[in-house]
Each structure stands twice: as C-alpha cells, then as structure tokens.
Subunit: 390 residues, 2 copies
Amino acid sequence: MENFVFNVPTKVYFGQGQIRHLPEALAPYGSKVLLVYGGGSIKKNGLYDQIYQVLADFEIVELPGVEPNPRIDTVRKGVDLCRKEAIEVVLAVGGGSTIDCAKAICAGVFYDGDPWDFTGDSSLITAALPLATILTLAATGSEMNAGGVLSNPATQEKLGFGNKILIPKVSILDPAYTYTVSKYQTAAGSADILSHLMEQYFDKTPGTEIQDHLAEGLMKTVIELLPVALAEADNYDARSNLMWASSWALNGLIGRGKSGAWSNHAMEHELSAYYDITHGVGLAILTPRWMMHVLNEETLPYFVRFGKNVWGLTGEDEVVAIGGIQKLYEFFVDCDIPMTLPQVGIDASKLAEMATQAVKHSTIATRAFVPLKETDVLAIFEASMEEMVF
Amino acid sequence: MENFVFNVPTKVYFGQGQIRHLPEALAPYGSKVLLVYGGGSIKKNGLYDQIYQVLADFEIVELPGVEPNPRIDTVRKGVDLCRKEAIEVVLAVGGGSTIDCAKAICAGVFYDGDPWDFTGDSSLITAALPLATILTLAATGSEMNAGGVLSNPATQEKLGFGNKILIPKVSILDPAYTYTVSKYQTAAGSADILSHLMEQYFDKTPGTEIQDHLAEGLMKTVIELLPVALAEADNYDARSNLMWASSWALNGLIGRGKSGAWSNHAMEHELSAYYDITHGVGLAILTPRWMMHVLNEETLPYFVRFGKNVWGLTGEDEVVAIGGIQKLYEFFVDCDIPMTLPQVGIDASKLAEMATQAVKHSTIATRAFVPLKETDVLAIFEASMEEMVF
C-alpha cells in the first residue's frame, strides 16, 4: 500500500426528507446563494419548489441549464453571476455534471484567468466559494469528492480538474429524488459507479487487500440493486444503496494507497468530447473490450479474482477470468444499455483521431494497469463497433 | 436503510514516515501540547524521541501512564494539567485506551463537573480541545470516530461516551508503529475490529446491502491478514491493512443507516470492569457463544450469509450457519487467543452479578439483534466457561 492522505470532511445528510436540514447547513456560509441546476427536471419533480420553501430566508440567484457534460461557457456565466451578485455559497442541485460545473464556478470566482485553465493545472485553484449539493443522480461521486470534469465544445476537449478545497461542505443525499430518473440514466449512472470501482480495482499496487475487498463489496451492491431500481423506480432500498455507493466509489476509500491512470475514463472522455454521448454508457461499452484487450498471462490473476469475488464464478482460471468479463457485458446488456458505438451514433470515421487524443490527454501510455498506446486504444474502439461474442 | 448524518472530517496521514507532517498538522491549533500516552512502549520503539524531534518548536506537557481500560482518575489528572498549563491541543499517542482517555480530557477541560458524568449523558460535552492522534495499535477505531470508553474501578463500571466534537482533527496512521505490538495484543486488536464489524453486521434493519457488503470486505481483510501479521510482525502490508480496517470498522461507514444495541460489547464491558481483562479477548470469547445463543429460525438467514460471504462456505443453510460460527471460533483459537473465561482468570462467582449489570448498563434487553435478558447473558457467560464443541 502506498502512503496517502485521506480527508473527506463533507457533512452528508442521507435519507428521505433530509432537505429540511438545508437552512442550518447553509447558514454558516452565508445567505446569498447561487442555485445551479440542469435541464429543469427538478421543477417537474417538485424539488425546485421545496428548495424555495426551505430557503425562504435566503436570497437565491439562479444559474439554470447546466448541460450533461457541462460546458466551460456555463462555468464562465456562473463566475460572472457570482461576482455580480456577491454570492456567498453555491448550491448545486442535480447529478455530477451540475456539481462539477458548480465546483469550477466556486474556484473560478477567485481566479483572474479563464476557468478552463484549471483542466491543465489544478494548482491554479487557490480559493473557492463554499459548495453545497443536493444529489439527484447516483453516478459520479462528485457529491463527496474534490474533482470534476468539464467540456469545451470549441476544442472538442473533455478534461478533469480537482482540488481538495472543492470538496462539498454539505451534501444532501435523498434517494427519493432519484425515483424520477429514467431507466436509461439510472443504468448509465450505475455503469459510471462500476467503472470508478473497476478503474481503481484493476491496479498493480501490492498490499491493497482492504481497498480491493471494499471495491468488491460496492460492485456487488450495485450489481444486486441496479436491476431492482430498473424494475421498480421508487424502490427506496435500491435507490438508497445505489446513491450511497456512488459516493464511496470515488471519495478516496477505494483508491487511496493505490496509483495508476484510469484507462476507460481516458478513452471515454474522447467519445463524449466528440459525440456528447452519456458518459456512463460510453464506459459500459468500452470496459469489457478493454478487459479482453488487457487480459494476458500477467493480468490473469486480477481477472480471476474479479470473476470469483464479484461474480461468484468457480473453475479454471482462464474460464473464470473470461467468464467475469462476459458476466459484466451481459449485465450491461440486461440493463438495456446500448453496448456498441454505432448504437450511440458513433461511426468509424474518427476512431483513430480519438485514439490519438486519448493518449495525448492522459497518462495511459505510461501509468495504466496495462499501458495503452494509440494502437491499443484504436483496437479497443474498433472492438466496440460490434457486439461481443464469448 | 434509516436516515443518518455522516461527517468524519479527520485528516488522516497514512503510511510509513507520515509523522513528518505532525508539525503542520498541529500548528493550526496551537503550540502548547499535552502529550498523552500509556505504559512507555513508545519510549522503547523510538516514537517518543521522534515526537520530540519533529515538535521541537512546540511546548510539550506530558501525561504518561494511561491504563488499558483507561481510568477516570487519569482523565481527571489530564483535565487539571490542561487547565494549569493552558494546553491548546492534545496529542494522544497509543491505542484506543490512550485516545479515549484523551477525548475525555479534551471535553473535560470545558466542563465544570466530573468528566465521569459524560458516560451517563454525552450531551454534557459542549466544547473540547482539538485532538490529534498517533495510532500504535489497530483495534478500536477511536482514531477516526467520536466515541470512547472509560473505566471507574471504584464502582466497577466501564461505560461509553461520545460527541462529534471529539472526532480527532488529525490522525497519523503509520503501520510501522505496530511492528512491536505483541502477538497477543495484535490478535486482541483484530478481534476488536472483527467484533465492531459483527456488532453492526448482525442487525435487522432492512435494505442495508452496501453496509453489509462493506462489512464483509473488512472482515475478510482482517481474517486474511491477521495471521500474516502474527507470523511476521514487521509485514508492512499486513500491518497497514489491519490498521486501516480498524478505522473503517467503526467510523460510521458500516453502521450508519442501521440501528440496534451492541450485545457483545455490553457483555464484555462487564468482564473488563470486574476483571480488567483485554477488551478484544473478552469479545473473542463471548462472540461465538452469543452467536450460538441467538441462532434461531428467524436469525438463520443472517448467519447463512455470514458463513457464505465471510467464510466461503456452501451447503445446507443450517450447516453453513453453524459452520461460520465454528470457523470464527477456530480462527480465534488459531490466533492463540485464550478462548474461555477461566483462561483469562474469570471464575463463575460473579457471572450472575455481571449479567445483571450488562442488562442494566445497556439497551440489549430491548434494542439488540436478539433482545437479551439477564438469563440470556448468564447463559452466554456460562457457555464461555468451557471450550466450544461443534
């Protein structure tokens, strides 16, 4: 296990009706609030009205319209609003995209340049407005961590940033707010959670039994309960387990003490940057192909462990290893996730260009579980054009 | 899953050599430090000298001699010292007993009455000195949580207290500091970790798959690595996994969203209060007997899950359930933990009296996984007089 610092001070109010604690949670930070949200689903499900009810004593300025794969333009707009209105605290209400956008706004207020700079150098983040979140989609873990991802359509780039001062001060996690999330987005969100876990699980740092066992526990939780949430949208237990799993998959518990580049995220960010597809769906498509591509004599034990401990398989090592990959693929198919690139509108025309960018924008060529060159990424993209056959 | 608040802001510096961060970690809280420690093992292993080296710019006042099962008298002494010396921050160096004692001191400074009062009413804790810890024993989890346990030899009481303001601000977790822990204390500490996990795992709150899978992951980590640490005292990977498991077994991750009284701790606290035995050993002795006592038609599924997911057993439900209990018992035996009460110097003379106190000092008669009356506790104590036969 490697040395690390773990410090996640977010105060999480978990459970149905916890929004009643919002006023006391925000009060220490100020009374002038920037309310950041997305496409308006919170108006349909009543959450928007609830917020205005409980925050009757606060002054609220709104930044609606944050996009999935949030755009740098929206961040810039938010920074301007914060300065103009002397905002004291930012309240992000939505999924990971909204929270990520809000994080960049919180930091951008104290930065003289363009907040897109953060994606190249997060050390430019030196101060930030306090951030609170109300989560409406179990997926990215942004509600309890320091990172975010932004898109720049002008340059077709989708890149990350992060700084510990961006960790939300308060997050309200009410599983009932995810009852109205579509099956498609529910499945995509869970694919994102699983991907976070797998990106950290498949790692060669020795002596990380605790991280690995905990990752297996979270994967099994998602694998058991996503089908329940898909079958019964308002199943509280399923929604609550998925929501809490999203936070723990990516707040340091699973990854601290390990190191290495995230292969599937590096590749998927190019798909999203070029085609604006749903992040979790891109990850679901790529991951089993990546697994088959990197499975070799040296990595076999990791996939055997995955097949045994996550999917409960037994038998010969190679059978268990490939069986685990097949199980994962079939799980995504069964959850109605489109599992080829053409199904999400991606043809072969830009695969090579995206492969080049994936290597350029990341350290997967040197620091990944199995280092990936452009030819490797291209092979994984090409394998993603057709259904897998086991 | 029940509603809950999760908020563990402790900044953990994990890994070998992290003590170099101690000055920067303490500086925000002040320069006048109360150094709380136990029997002097930190002088033998060099940690004491290291502390004075890195804290050359701090003024240190000492409170040595904290007992295993820390006594209220030592707390009172520490409170007096803090007041007399105008201490600004408390640094506890040791295992759970030292940290628990330090927590009571931190709170006692701001309380006009006797700190023993906290064990009856933790709401009397309204302010506290900031606490930092350097952990030297993987066991109680006190390094990353809000609670503690104190002993009062005058009244033969051992009782808990807790308040979120007592959560350590900083904890340095260097697994190498546990290399010199004896086999006996290493095994007892891991039995304590396992007990924390089992006390929370065996709980009837529905819809807690995430907590249960994570508890299983932590239990498997301890079960795999305790034997390694016993065989090779300076095995860094084993020591680091056990140390990190101690923190996560009892910082809220496993227990939040559930409820219920802790049966084995309630019973063991009486053994320790009357006979001053090692807490983890008492728990190891009691737990398998408690399991056999509460195993019935209704609780069978919980024990089947335990046998399958923690011990990898398969077969008929009843065989798996009892097999899991047997595996746990044999694991403790294999780790050379004395597994009967007479082996730790407890005879039958006070069993009935301790059973009465266990029910009186806790809510196990009403809120436990299986409610326990005095006759139940007595039966478990009596079963603990002899070796188990399966």
